[in-house]
Amino acid sequence: MKTKKARLITQTVTYAVLILLFVILTVMINNKSISRTLKGQLIPICSWIVMAVSLNLVVGISGELSLGHAGFMSIGAFSGIIVSGWLLNGFGMEDPALRLFLSILCGGVIAGIFGVLIGIPVLRLRGDYLAIVTLAFGEIIKNVMNCVYVSVEGRSLNWGFLDGNLPGTLLLNGPMGAVKVKTIATFGAGFILVIFSLIVVLNLVNSRSGRAIMAARDNRIAAEAMGINITKYKMMAFVTAAVLAGMAGALYGLSMATLLPTKFSFNESINVLVFVVLGGIGNIPGSIVSATALTILPEKLRFLQNYRMLAYAILLILVMVLGNNPLLKTLWRRLIPGRNREQTGEEMRA
């Protein structure tokens, strides 16, 4: 357990660094001194950060391996796109900021509802079985999204399943996904979402409920004996993560002109999990750093051309193998003495 003071310092530093980065990047965008590729990546980076932070809540804080987190992102993205298109076509709401806000909100709420529905059966299981069921839900969501058609005509939304013959403008076109999306997401909105998710997650972790969630993770039976309602607290973490993932999805979806349902596949869930594990399980600032670095990295490796993903794979394996080398671990710990205490707790769990 970290002391209250150390925790406060880490949090303040995290927020301060993020705000500083945001200011620098905004200035750079205004000066046009930022590369086009990086500029295009800013909003996706924000959504991947939120994804990583929210998955860390499930995997790190609540201790359940989830392999279907991209499913919630998919739900959020497509509900966000539908809401945005509906507001624009049906109600003539031109103000992009308000539309973006409402879309992200709806994306979060709808993903949260699915989080509850999926959480009820999923959280009855343990360990690898839980992981495989989340994987299954992720695949089901991807598969079902492939068959959904939505169109807007006047103020009414029309739904079709496996049948694209709908009146009005199509917002969602089955396997073709969302086409001609008005990209209203902005970097500022993305930044606010990142800060919002940080506030939510860090406050949850450091609250009474957060301690209950971690107690349930560390020793289920002991926690139950202390009168902690395991299902309630696991559910709390799972649904919060689903809501945040939905919001991240809505932001992501509204930053892309076209979006295929197959985008949010098992591979994306795994990618987010890689962010979480490389950033440190249970380490929220670590998730932010690794999500940012690993989103930029494949682009930076572009000079390797075809060898790009190969290099990424080798890096991933090397980081994992060398990072867990006992010799290097001891060396690392000697170099940074302050880490000693924190790490032992984590290792005892493993």
Binding site: L65, F137, I221, N306, M309, L310, Y312, L316, I317, M320
Partner: protein, 293 residues
């Protein structure tokens, strides 16, 4: 009659899943890890057979043996380089390494063989079997797949229950520490497990691509995920469970696609998995885990 033909196709697809699932379940039982790279070993095996038959002019059985050899070496190398240094690490670290390995294999294949799908020539040249006055047509691939599955099942069961190595495997899967104390070479046992799993992956690659003749670097990943699902379905760590889970999953997938909806085939498979796991949380043939305080 259509139903019967679908059923046979389902069993055949399920047999492929079962053979792949064996690799997952054996490695899980013994090394307690999910080897996500297993699906990609299948793809490598299929490519080797393809190259052997198309470019190097090898007769089909030799090409298959070569692929089994390559996959065995590949599986053991992966284990040595990537998984062995992580024996003491957390399960998640191993999982991420396995994912990295899967990317590595896919991208290496992409560099060597390119992204364009290759049409896999069927190595089985005999005519299709016509039953019931030509109403039920069974392709030779289908029949051989089912036969191969049965043979592998029997051979593997005998190996696990009768040989010294099989006994060592059962020991390591039950209690690694105690097995080590009894003088069992745990590292070698794990190596052999990977070798067997990978050799089976080469066979699975052959059967998969003879029935679905499109070969590309991502060929192995979806069957890999489904086979992993099948292993969990039957109870992960249990060999008969992998068999049962694989065959049932194949039948459900084909019948679901035929009678409910083609587009939703995968969703149906995964939905059935969820329902089964809710009723039996450790799979069909998995041992229930008792909790001790």
């Amino acid at each position: 009659m259509i139903f019967l033909s679908n059923l046979v196709n389902g069993i055949s697809l399920g047999s492929i899943y079962a053979i792949i699932a064996l690799g997952y379940t054996m490695v899980y039982g013994i090394a307690k890890m999910l080897n996500f790279a297993h699906g990609d070993v299948i793809m490598v095996g299929a490519y080797i057979i393809f190259c052997g038959a198309q470019y190097w002019g090898l007769p089909a059985p030799v090409a298959v043996l070569l692929a089994m050899l390559v996959c065995t070496v590949l599986g053991m190398t992966i284990e040595k380089l990537a998984y062995k240094p992580l024996r003491q690490a957390t399960g998640l670290a191993v999982l991420i390494t396995a994912i990295g390995m899967s990317y590595l294999l896919q991208n290496t294949a992409l560099l060597i063989w390119g992204a364009n799908p290759k049409v896999f020539p069927s190595p089985f040249s005999t005519d299709a079997l016509h039953l019931f006055g030509g109403e039920l047509v069974i392709k030779p691939e289908t029949l051989i797949t089912i036969l191969a599955n049965v043979v592998i099942m029997i051979a593997l069961s005998l190996f696990i229950s009768r040989t010294k190595m099989g006994k060592a495997m059962r020991c390591v899967s039950e209690d690694r520490g105690a097995a080590e104390l009894m003088g069992i070479n745990v590292n070698r046992t794990i190596s052999v497990t990977f070798a067997i799993g990978s050799a089976l992956a080469a066979i699975a690659g052959l059967l998969l691509c003879s029935s679905y003749p499109m070969l590309q670097p991502t060929t192995g990943s979806m069957p890999g995920i489904k086979a992993f699902t099948a292993a969990v379905f039957g109870g992960i760590g249990s060999i008969p469970g992998a068999m049962l889970g694989g065959v049932l999953l194949g039948i459900i997938e084909i019948l679901g696609k035929a009678y409910i909806s083609t587009e939703l085939g995968d969703a149906i498979v995964f939905a059935v998995l969820i329902v089964v796991l809710l009723v039996r949380p450790t799979g069909l043939l998995g041992k229930p885990v008792r909790e001790k305080v």
